[in-house]
């Protein structure tokens, strides 16, 4: 049998010298969508960033395998080129770097890495045209600085735009649903669903059950105080929506 897409084993991680993740275990196979829910500060973004390779997020214990390979040994750019993508909870504004040309060079960096032909400007433009339309984004969107002066919702949509263009194998979406109105939420969910395929895996970090009405997860995990305290089906999300995290937080304290 093929190795799982993602295999997280007993991962402990610190930011600076503050321990945040305290033993995370999670296995996700190709084709699956996993939702990760949990209260503020429980370590959801830390986990996402550890997977994406953010410097200064130090894994002090445990292992992560991505398609059977040691993910933690790879540089962030190599993870990206190998098909790992994290949609940032807070996408970074980079004035002076054009949104579209940046994405073109990112795509071409990946294609070069994989030994594929690079796209020229015209090929790239025709590639992005339909994706822009799908996300309800104006063409002027490509002419602006990267996330520069974008509204919260535009930034989130830009992350999904990048997702659709870069076509990763493992997508980690860190609260891409928060701050979106209901129409934008549907658009974003639609984008994520389009990416769903037997070859791809999605980790969906969220606070709210509402996006799970549009994206049906295969597994829901509850992360509290740096540990996954419970995993289950979609019904777990409904339960959390009703009762909150109190029961799990109490349990985490005891443990």
């Amino acid at each position: 049998m093929a190795a799982p897409m993602l295999e997280i084993r007993d991962v402990h991680a610190s930011v600076g010298d503050k321990p945040i993740l305290k033993g995370v275990d999670l296995v996700a196979n190709a084709g699956e969508v996993h939702a990760i829910m949990g209260p503020n500060g429980s370590g959801k973004s830390t986990l996402a960033n550890v997977l994406a390779g953010r410097p200064n997020f130090t894994v002090t214990q445990g292992q992560v395998h991505y398609m059977g390979r040691n993910l933690l040994a790879m540089k962030p750019e190599d993870r990206a080129r190998e098909g790992v993508f994290m949609a940032f909870q807070y996408p970074v504004e980079i004035p002076g770097v054009n949104n579209a040309y940046f994405l073109k060079s990112a795509l071409n960096a990946m294609r070069r890495y994989r030994g594929e032909e690079e796209l020229d400007a015209i090929e790239f433009l025709s590639l992005i045209e339909e994706k822009l339309k799908l996300l309800g984004l104006d063409e002027s969107f490509t002419k602006r600085g990267l996330n520069e002066g974008f509204s919260g919702g535009e930034k989130k949509r830009n992350e999904i735009f990048q997702l659709l263009v870069l076509q990763p194998k493992l997508a980690i979406l860190d609260e891409t649903d928060s701050g979106l109105d209901i129409d934008a939420l549907k658009i974003v969910a639609n984008g994520v669903n389009m990416m769903r395929s037997p070859e791809r895996t999605t980790l969906l970090v969220t606070h709210y059950q509402r996006i799970l009405n549009y994206i049906q997860p295969d597994v829901v995990h509850v992360l509290v105080d740096g540990r996954i305290v419970k995993s289950g089906g979609n019904e777990l999300a409904h339960e959390l929506e009703k009762h909150g995290y109190a029961q799990f937080e109490a349990a985490a304290k005891v443990a």
Binding site: G53, P76, E77, R81, P95, V97, N108, L166
Partner: protein, 450 residues
């Protein structure tokens, strides 16, 4: 004054020079040169004790004996000029080599009636009254010692006059090349630019040099912009690594005039750049931009002063610096809002990106507000590269070197993209790219943006 006094060599040279200087037979000009020389003799070189010179020591200039640069056109080939030219540039061009116009390298196309683009010395012969009315009347040499030296010793430079209501659509490129000699040389280039009421013009000043000889460029440019005139000015400074460059740009703005100035300091060893503007009437608008890229052991000091002397004027100022190596930069901005300059709108920003631990910036923004109904803001920042941004780019598959280079380019782009003379913008962009470790990858990412 003793022989060891750095002023002595200038005083001695002046008595010789004034007899052979351009316009030596014009009494007003002789008096002007003499009073400038006297002013310099009394005042001397500035010292670190003076507020305006606190961060920049000109001791290396004071202790060097410079000879006025001899004509050296014979040694300059068209290729030398090509090397620093802007590809695809269509416009008028005056090329000065070691301070003297080289007619073979210059080219002025057909001009609308009445427009003059010529040597200042020629203008002195053709229209001495007009030159007399403006020369050294704006760039105050009593307060600016290097302007005093220039006023005493200038030999040549450009004279641009665009009469009332006339537009010169093509940019006017004034090129000053220095070809250093065996001994240190100095050129005091002097430019006078008169843009009359309702006229429109674009002027690019370029300064460049090559070789590793020591030289000193000490230019002064005075600009008078008439009522409702539109004037775009660029200064591209690409002196060689060892050069001293001390420049003064003085702009006087008439009623409802619109001026942009973009000061691009890329070269030079010890550089001081003064830009002074004065709103002489109401409703003027000014955009004052600058970019300095400083590395190695370069020292680049930008001083700007904007005098809002009249009501209802607007000024936006943005200076950005990129520092690497042991580079050192100074930004000293002063906006003075005079007592009756109500409804002034002024904004001053200085941002610095440090790429190394050893680079250093002094940023001193400043506002002096004497009116009470104004809108004025200023801001300044000095920082290293934002690691969040680096990670964001890497997480999208760009290697670290490319990410850092792209962010550096992106930092400069805000100023680069304000350059409206496209061949100049491209040359500037290419120059910045060529300094970046991952230039090819960055060029790919920004090409269409150029």
């Amino acid at each position: 004054m003793t022989d060891a006094d750095p002023r002595q060599a200038y005083v001695d040279d002046f008595s010789k020079f004034e007899r052979e200087a351009p316009g030596a037979d014009l009494p007003w000009l002789r008096d002007l040169r003499r009073s400038a020389m006297a002013r310099f003799r009394d005042r001397g070189f500035p010292t670190l004790k003076e507020e305006e010179w606190k961060y920049t020591s000109v001791a290396p200039i004071a202790r060097t004996t410079f000879r006025r640069a001899p004509a050296a056109s014979d040694g300059v080939a068209r290729e030398d000029v090509e090397r620093i030219a802007f590809h695809g540039f269509r416009g008028h061009q005056l090329v000065f080599v070691n301070g003297r116009l080289d007619p073979h390298l210059s080219g002025v196309g057909a001009l609308p009636e009445g427009v003059q683009i010529r040597r200042l010395e020629e203008a002195l012969e053709g229209d001495p009254a007009l030159v007399e009315r403006h020369l050294a009347r704006h760039a105050a040499f009593d307060r600016q010692p290097f302007a005093a030296l220039n006023t005493a010793f200038w030999e040549d430079g450009a004279f641009v006059h665009v009469p009332k209501g006339v537009a010169v659509p093509e940019p006017i490129h004034l090129v000053f090349l220095s070809k250093p000699q065996h001994e240190p040389t100095v050129v005091h280039a002097r430019n006078l630019i008169l843009i009359d009421e309702g006229a429109v013009a674009i002027v690019v000043e370029s300064y460049a040099g090559w070789g590793d000889g020591l030289y000193f460029t000490n230019p002064v440019t005075e600009v008078v912009v008439g009522d409702e005139a539109v004037f775009n000015h660029y200064k591209l400074q690409r002196e060689s690594e060892k050069a001293f460059h001390i420049g003064v740009l003085q702009i006087l703005q008439g009623r409802a005039s619109n001026v942009t100035d973009n000061s691009l300091a890329l070269g030079g060893g010890l550089v001081r750049n003064d830009v002074n503007t004065w709103f002489a009437d109401e409703g003027g608008e000014l955009n004052l931009d600058g970019l300095y890229v400083v590395g190695g052991r370069q020292h680049v000091d930008n001083h700007t002063r904007i005098d809002h002397a009249k009501p209802h004027c607007t000024s936006f100022e943005l200076y950005k610096g990129i520092l690497d190596g042991h580079g050192r930069a100074v930004f000293y901005g002063n906006i003075v809002v005079h007592k009756d300059a109500q409804k002034t709108n002024a904004m001053q920003t200085n941002k610095n990106l440090l790429l190394s631990r050893d680079a250093l910036v002094d940023s001193i923004p400043g506002l002096q507000i004497l009116a009470n109904d104004v809108k004025c803001r200023h801001g300044s920042s000095i920082g290293h590269m934002d690691e969040e941004q680096v990670f964001y780019l890497r997480s999208r598959g760009l290697d670290e070197e490319t990410a850092r280079s792209l962010l550096t380019y992106g930092f400069a782009a805000e100023v680069v993209n304000r350059v409206r003379v496209l061949p100049l913008r491209a040359a500037l962009g290419a120059w910045i790219l060529s300094r970046l470790p991952a230039s090819a990858a960055v060029s790919d990412a920004v090409r269409e943006g150029l």
